[in-house]
């Protein structure tokens, strides 16, 4: 079954197309990697899928329901969660408060005004479970702004996982991390069940080749290749784009 369906999506900023006529589908449980050089439109694609931007043209479907014009909070409520390339956390709140906010986001409970948050034992248990996958539970009372980059990246992923999303969009989860820290992120990813579909953007080829079932290669807003890791590794066009060989010839051929 298809979780996401993208049909002819374009996104234009003034005269520049960040995405042009992009179409693909994602089935339940798939791990789909989106790769491409800087400025290829990967983050724009995530913004269009999660609702931070709306497409100039084309349509986006979630389990057959059109969500092209839905605001981000409505999409989040349907079950689309995302992480951000540049850590987008509540820096002046504690790790625990960050996690609690993520857990209650999809619940009507967040409008409850007269019961202190401490009395919701179930939310704290869930926060403990989530944070215990890393060593963040021990640091739960620390302010996020005082944590290391690696810890913030971990929290970034935990926040997007907290709502038990059906689709998880991870924008460069391992950017700027050491090898050990990246391995930790990979561990979290591979621990996810197949009820969660994962789309991720990454420059880290180890992560892409190990974690992805399928790869989509974006270049100047176009999909130039799509296939299994093996197929992509063998694809001459991808080699050109990444190695920069015959770049000009390629550009001339496609425009």
């Amino acid at each position: 079954m298809e979780v996401l369906r993208v049909e002819g999506v374009s996104k234009r900023f003034g005269g520049v197309y960040s995405l042009q006529d992009v179409s693909f589908g994602v089935s339940v449980g798939e791990r789909l990697a989106i790769i491409g050089p800087n400025g290829a439109g990967k983050t724009t694609l995530f913004n269009v899928l999660a609702g931070q931007l709306s497409a100039t043209d084309g349509r986006v479907y979630f389990f057959g329901q059109e969500i092209t014009r839905l605001p981000p909070h409505r999409r989040a409520r349907l079950g689309i969660a995302r992480s951000f390339q540049i850590s987008n956390l509540f820096f002046n709140l504690s790790v625990l408060d960050n996690t609690l906010l993520a857990i209650q986001g999809r619940r009507a409970r967040s409008f409850q005004m007269f019961r202190t948050i401490e009395t919701y034992g179930d939310m704290f248990e869930k926060a403990e479970r989530l944070l215990s996958t890393t060593d963040l539970w021990e640091k739960r009372d620390d302010l996020v702004r005082n944590m290391s980059h690696g810890e913030q990246r971990n929290l970034e992923i935990i926040l997007s996982l907290a709502s038990q999303p059906k689709v998880l969009l991870l924008d460069e989860p391992t950017a700027g991390l050491t090898e050990g820290e990246s391995a930790n992120i990979f561990k979290i990813l591979s621990g996810l069940g197949l009820e969660t579909t994962v789309l991720f953007v990454a420059h880290d080829m180890d992560l892409v080749l190990n974690a992805a079932d399928r790869i989509i290669v974006l270049h100047y807003g176009h999909i130039i290749a799509e296939g299994t890791p093996k197929e992509i590794q063998a694809d001459p066009k991808v080699k050109e784009v990444y190695m920069g060989i015959k770049q000009l010839a390629y550009d001339a051929a496609t425009h």
């Binding site: 931070q52 989040a76 509540f90 967040s110 005004m113 034992g121």
Partner: protein, 332 residues
């Protein structure tokens, strides 16, 4: 069905003690010591408690939801005028009717203003709250048959509580304000610690993340705006009865700035901060106006500048931190 056990903070009992002791001491002082003081001190304390409610309500916007407002006095003034008009023009001196009508009107005004002000963001939103406040100000000056215009709506008596056999005086009214203050403090204290209050803090810290987590940001801000207007309205009604007169100035930007000064001087983002700020600013205002009847705003302005430069987190917050360090030093 049993509820899951409540979460226990790592900080535990000491943390509770740190919070409870100052609350208890101040409550006991207000309950027993203030009524024994001369009338002018009682009146000063009444005014402090009224403005404490007002400042707390503004703090819900500034310190929690991250919404700046220069029109908060509009709700305060509307409610005060509403209660005053009820007494002066229609002879209704029942305090519950006054409070009910005043708060209702303030809430309605907040509901309308909120729709407009929250369309814009940042500095534009502040300008809209400012403009809407001034709109009500001109209403109050021009609608003379009802508001008495620039002369002010005077002759508002201390209300009866529905007990006719009882002689109402300043001390009784002080206790009434104190009780109302306790109710408001408790409600707001619960509110900021509730899931809703945490959500407001999340919005203050990062709107885009909150949206991505499924929060309808606009709705949260709007509800917070209305609640803040409600509490400001309660303060406005109490103020009308206390001062005996409502003037257009009570609705205007100067009063909004005055209450913002209290909230910031005491410490926004905490519920006790604005209370301490109100006590500080009103006491300074009182004694400064005795010292120099014409130049006291200069002194208040100086206090504001000094606070912003050297105590941006708020005096109340510094007191609290100091007290915490003392207790932790004792090693329980």
């Amino acid at each position: 069905m049993g509820r899951a056990p409540a979460y226990r903070s790592k900080r535990g009992r000491l943390h509770k003690l740190i919070e409870i002791v100052p609350h208890l001491v101040i409550a006991l002082l207000l309950l027993f010591l203030v009524p024994l003081q001369p009338t002018y001190i009682q009146s000063l304390a009444t005014k402090i408690l009224i403005f404490a409610i007002f400042a707390m309500s503004l703090d819900l916007l500034i310190g929690y939801a991250g919404i700046m407002s220069l029109g908060h006095a509009a709700f305060f003034g509307t409610a005060g005028y509403a209660a005053g008009i009820l007494v002066v023009r229609y002879g209704v001196d029942n305090v519950w009717l006054g409070l009910g009508f005043g708060i209702l009107l303030a809430t309605l005004v907040a509901a309308v203003f909120g729709i407009i002000a929250l369309q814009a963001r940042g500095i534009y939103s502040i300008l809209i709250t400012f403009a809407l406040g001034q709109l009500l100000y001109s209403f109050a000056t021009k609608w003379r048959s009802v508001t008495n215009g620039d002369y002010g709506l005077w002759g508002i008596p201390i209300p009866a509580l529905g007990l006719s056999s009882f002689e109402w005086n300043g001390t009784c009214y002080y206790y009434f304000v104190f009780l109302t203050f306790l109710v408001c403090y408790f409600c707001l204290y619960r509110l900021v610690k509730s899931p809703f209050g945490k959500s407001l803090q999340g919005i203050r810290e990062g709107e885009s993340r909150m949206r991505a987590l499924g929060y309808n940001i606009w709705l949260f801000k709007y509800v917070a705006f209305i609640i803040a207007g409600m509490f400001a309205g309660a303060a406005g009604v109490l103020y009308a009865y206390h001062s005996g007169i409502m003037t257009p100035g009570d609705l205007a930007v100067a009063n909004s700035g005055f209450v913002m000064l209290m909230a910031i001087a005491g410490g926004v983002g905490t519920i006790y901060g604005p209370v301490i700020g109100a006590a500080l600013i009103i006491t300074i205002q009182y004694y400064a106006s005795i010292l120099t009847p014409n130049r006291w705003p200069l002194i208040l302005g100086g206090v504001f500048v000094l606070t912003i430069m050297y105590a941006r987190a708020g005096v109340g917050v510094y007191f609290f931190k100091l007290w915490k360090r003392v207790l932790e030093g004792w090693k329980f």
